[in-house]
Structure formats: structure tokens, C-alpha cells
């Protein structure tokens, strides 16, 4: 297995993939395709507690902690949101809490998805990022010096 790309390298990879598309429809079709590759979350995790607030669609997000790294899993009943979160997972899952908290995620702007960062009730990307970072803070407090046990 090739070594895992860094957050920035993964972001750059996504930016390059999006550079291939010039129409909005194509970009969104690609996002939807990425969503389809995200494994469905088991129904037991689709609880109110795991729901990300602030999205027009339902988004469920959970995080595991393995060997000092956060592993995210998520699902949504809307396809574009599912695609967006699968992109976030590709960038942030399998990282340490510090890496996640330091991520600026500029790629979202670069690929033209800033509208999804807008502070409106219908766009939940910002809420998803916030929730992912909250998990990172929580595990950082629980495990201040990550041990690779």
C-alpha cells in the first residue's frame, strides 16, 4: 500500500480532479459519484444524536478513534450532501486530531463549492466541518498525547 497522502496533498488531488470539468453539472455529477462510493452507515447509527444540525437534508456523522487517528463514517439522504461529506472524509479521515484541527480546507473554495459554505439553513457543509472538528477536539481532550497502542 502506498503511504497515505497528507491533507494538503489530498486536497490538491481533488482540485486536480475537478479541473477536468468545466460545467457545473459535471462537477456535481462527480460529487454524486463520490457519494455513491461512501459505504452506507448502519441504521443503528442513524440516530438523532449523530445527526448534524443545520442541514436541510439529514446527515449522520460518527467518529472512531484508532491508534491516535480519527476514522469518520457518515451518511445522508441527499446525494449531493453525501458526496460533499465523502470528500471531507477522504481529506480528514485517518488523521490525528491536531491535523484535523489545523486543516484549512481551502480546496472547497478552489473547486467552486463556496456556496455550500454559506451561512444559510439549507447548506450544511459548514456544520459538517464543525462537527468533524468537534470530534477531533473531543478525542484530543480524551487522549492529549496520542499513543500508538
Amino acid at each position: 500500500m502506498s503511504p497515505q497522502l497528507s491533507i494538503l496533498e489530498t486536497e490538491r488531488e481533488i482540485i486536480e480532479e475537478f479541473a477536468l470539468f468545466d460545467s457545473w453539472d459535471d462537477k456535481y455529477e462527480y460529487i454524486i459519484d463520490m457519494g455513491k462510493t461512501l459505504p452506507a452507515l448502519e441504521p443503528i447509527f442513524k440516530t438523532d444524536e449523530n445527526r448534524v444540525r443545520g442541514c436541510q437534508s439529514s446527515v449522520w456523522l460518527i467518529a472512531d478513534y484508532q491508534e491516535g487517528k480519527l476514522i469518520y463514517k457518515a451518511d445522508s439522504d441527499a446525494m449531493i450532501v453525501k458526496g460533499l461529506i465523502s470528500m471531507l472524509i477522504r481529506v480528514l479521515s485517518g488523521r490525528t486530531a491536531d491535523e484535523i484541527l489545523g486543516a484549512k480546507l481551502d480546496f472547497i473554495r478552489e473547486i467552486g463549492m463556496t456556496t455550500h459554505l454559506a451561512q444559510t439553513r439549507s447548506n450544511g457543509l459548514l456544520s459538517m466541518i464543525k462537527q468533524m472538528k468537534h470530534y477531533a477536539i473531543a478525542y484530543k481532550i480524551k487522549d492529549p498525547v496520542p499513543s500508538k497502542n
Binding site: 453539472d25 436541510q56 437534508s57 439522504d77 446525494m79 449531493i80 439549507s122
Partner: protein, 414 residues
């Protein structure tokens, strides 16, 4: 004699569209198709110009200044009150209270009339198709006063169950607060009948006219409603302006909603004498520029012709129903016999949010979500709908584009 002179002329939609500058813009490289008029309508040039003209020529605080600008601003502000009075057929100008919007109008009644008149055990009736702004103020009031909130159920078509309503009315009913036209379904409710039924048991009726004022001819005296609230921005007017109509004797009996300037006659630390209607309910400096500009929106509706607008919108509604239902898997939510030009729909295996985002890519603006009517969505067991709502400047070509756009959406999501 030319007979055709007596028949209402068809609207020249091309000319009308030219009055709305925003319709010339592009979204994501495509010409804008604006189908979110139930949320807010676009503004004609004369309304935009009026705001600009006011700030460039008259800007002053109204009612108290004795200088020329204050007099001019006051006169223009009060002209809108007269225009609103005739627009809704009110008996007197004192019955027209300017608010921020429908929501504030309803809250004013709940706070002022409600807190004075509602007691423990009293009943307030609303319906399943209310906007949150005609639910929450009454919930708060009922909680505070230990009163009971009753909800009129609706049919699968999206019509009120009138028999159930009649059975709910009784000696404990103090108020019925009902939406005239549903924002999510487009249903026109038989408010005139409901008002007379409510009055028969001694209850008052508040009508939420947020969606009806732009589509229907409103005559508050004919309806005999006790309160009627609506917003300017859904009637081609500016945001931040609303109207609360109330019967004069009721408004006079009600305590003020907010305290401050404008609403007083005399103030000492011992006692304040409140101003007369309508100023008693207009504390603080109002939204002068936008109220003044609102008159030009009413003028636009008047000069275009209410009946001609209505016929055009009904034509669009029927066309949209027929064309949208041709799309496999599409289901229209809300098929009342009497509807305004609002079409809510769902498509199987397509989340409304996805529909909204993908249509936006094609320059088509419509609304998706629960439309601030969550109990109604629960009633239909759906998370939300996509909603297209048409105004005077919309065309059948735009509906065709919407249908084409939806075919594309279905393809992308499959």
C-alpha cells in the same frame, strides 16, 4: 363600436419583464428563471427608483419635524397608508398599521390582543397548513395563559376539513388564526365562511394574508375579518414592510405592543398617554423609505390589473400542473380545487435539496425544504418538497425550462 375594448387585454409579459431589472441577470452562466416568488417577489424598477429617490431628495424623520423635508417625507409615508387602505378595502386609514412584515403583525396581535383577552381554558384554533409564524406566537400565548391550541386537520388533497373545523368551534373559542393561502400547498382556504362560522360563536378571526394579498382581491370589509396581516415584499414591494389591518374598535381597545417614540402623546415618569391609532402601534422610527416605495408596488399591481394578473397566473398554474405530472415519479403535493400559482412537488428517489442545487446550476431558482411548515410536512410524511411559485412576469417558456431541467436532474440523480 369595438367590442374587444371591454374584454381585459392580455398582458404584455415582455414589457412587464422589462420593468424587473433582476430578470436580465444570469446565474451560473444561464439566464435567471426565478420561480421562488412565494418566498419573495422581484421588484419593479419604479420601486427601486422610489427608494433611491427618497434618500436622494426627501430623507427626514417623519411626523414630528416641521421642516420641509420632514413634511414631504411624512406626506409620502402617509400616502402609502391611504394606498394600502384602498388596496385591501379597509374602512379607515387608522386601521392600517405598518409593521416589519406578516410575522410581526401576527405577533402584535398575539402579544397585545392575546395577552389582554386570552385566559386559562380558552381555545385558539389554527390549522395544519400554517406557516411557523402563525403557530409559534399562539403556542407561546397558550403556554403563558394555559389556553388550548386546536389544529384543524386537512385532507390528502390539501384542503381543510371544514366539518372538523365547525365541530371545534364553541363557547371556549376566542380566536381563529388561519392562513388565507398556504405557502407550501397553494390552497386557498374558504376564509369568508370560516370567519362567519367563528363570529357565530363569538370568536375573532385573524387572517394570515402573506401569500394571498399578491394573488387574490382582498376586501377586508367583505371578509369581515378582525385582523389581516401581510408583507410588502411578496407583493413586488420592498422587504422590511408589512401591514396589519385591524378593526378600529379592536385596535383601540388593545394595549400598545412596544413602547417608545412615535406611539406616545405625553410622557411623564408617572404616566404616559398613548398616541391615537395607528401611531399607537408604530413605536420608533419606521422603515420610511420602504413604506414610501411600497406605494409604487401597489401602483404596479393596480396599473397591470389584478384580474389580468390572476388570469395569467392561473394559466401558468394549470400549465405547470399538466407539464410537471408528465415527469415519471413526480408527485404534486397539494391539489386543492382552489389554488394560487404555487406548485409543491416531490420526485421519487430525489431529495428536494438535490433538486434545488441541480436546478440552480441551470439558472432556475425555486424553493426546497419544509417551507417553515414542518407540521404540514409531517402530515404528508415527507421531509420537504420542491416548490415552484409563479408571479406576473413568469412565462410558459420558463415552465418548459423547469420541466427540461427536472428531466436532467432525474438523469443525474439516477
Amino acid at each position: 363600436m369595438n367590442v374587444s375594448l371591454t374584454i381585459p387585454k392580455q398582458l404584455d409579459i415582455t414589457a412587464i419583464r422589462q420593468e424587473f431589472p433582476v430578470l436580465n441577470r444570469k446565474v451560473k452562466g444561464k439566464p435567471l428563471i426565478y420561480l421562488d416568488n412565494a418566498a419573495t417577489s422581484q421588484k419593479p424598477q419604479r420601486v427601486i427608483d422610489a427608494i433611491n429617490y427618497y434618500y436622494s431628495n426627501h430623507n427626514a424623520n417623519i411626523h414630528r419635524g416641521i421642516h420641509t423635508l420632514a413634511e414631504e417625507a411624512t406626506a409620502a409615508f402617509e400616502e402609502t397608508r391611504d394606498a394600502v387602505k384602498s388596496f385591501i378595502g379597509a374602512g379607515s386609514r387608522e386601521e392600517i398599521i405598518f409593521t416589519k412584515g406578516t410575522t410581526e403583525g401576527i405577533n402584535l396581535v398575539a402579544y397585545s390582543w392575546g395577552r389582554k383577552n386570552i385566559q386559562a381554558g380558552d381555545e385558539i384554533i389554527i390549522s395544519y397548513m400554517e406557516h411557523h409564524s402563525n403557530i409559534v406566537p399562539w403556542q407561546l400565548l397558550c403556554e403563558e395563559k394555559k389556553a388550548v391550541l386546536k389544529v384543524i386537520p386537512i385532507s390528502d388533497k390539501g384542503e381543510l376539513l371544514m366539518e372538523e373545523y365547525k365541530n371545534m368551534l364553541g363557547p371556549k373559542t376566542k380566536l381563529v388564526s388561519i392562513v388565507h393561502v398556504s405557502n407550501a400547498l397553494g390552497t386557498v382556504n374558504p376564509v369568508k365562511q370560516m370567519i362567519s362560522d367563528a363570529h357565530a360563536v363569538g370568536a375573532l378571526v385573524m387572517v394570515d394574508g402573506a401569500q394571498s394579498a399578491v394573488h387574490l382581491d382582498i376586501d377586508v370589509l367583505d371578509l369581515d375579518c378582525d385582523f389581516f396581516a401581510f408583507s410588502a415584499h411578496k407583493l413586488y414591494g420592498p422587504t422590511g414592510v408589512g401591514v396589519l389591518y385591524g378593526k378600529k374598535e379592536l385596535l383601540e381597545s388593545m394595549p400598545p405592543f412596544q413602547g417608545g417614540g412615535e406611539m406616545i402623546k405625553e410622557v411623564s415618569f408617572e404616566k404616559t398617554i398613548f398616541n391615537d391609532l395607528p401611531y399607537k402601534f408604530e413605536a420608533g422610527t419606521p422603515n420610511i423609505a420602504d413604506v414610501i416605495a411600497f406605494k409604487y408596488a401597489l401602483q404596479f399591481i393596480h396599473s397591470t390589473g389584478r384580474e389580468r394578473i390572476r388570469l395569467h397566473e392561473q394559466d401558468l398554474l394549470e400549465y405547470a400542473h399538466v407539464e410537471l405530472e408528465k415527469i415519471p415519479g413526480l408527485q404534486i403535493i397539494g391539489k386543492a380545487r382552489e389554488k394560487v400559482s404555487v406548485v409543491s412537488f416531490i420526485i421519487s428517489n430525489a431529495h428536494p435539496q438535490d433538486i434545488g442545487i441541480l436546478l440552480d446550476n441551470q439558472g432556475i431558482a425555486l424553493r426546497t425544504g419544509h417551507h417553515c411548515a414542518q407540521p404540514l410536512m409531517d402530515r404528508f410524511c415527507i421531509p420537504g418538497t420542491a416548490r415552484a411559485s409563479f408571479a406576473v412576469y413568469n412565462t410558459k417558456f420558463e415552465i418548459d425550462e423547469l420541466v427540461k431541467g427536472l428531466y436532467k436532474v432525474v438523469k443525474i440523480l439516477s
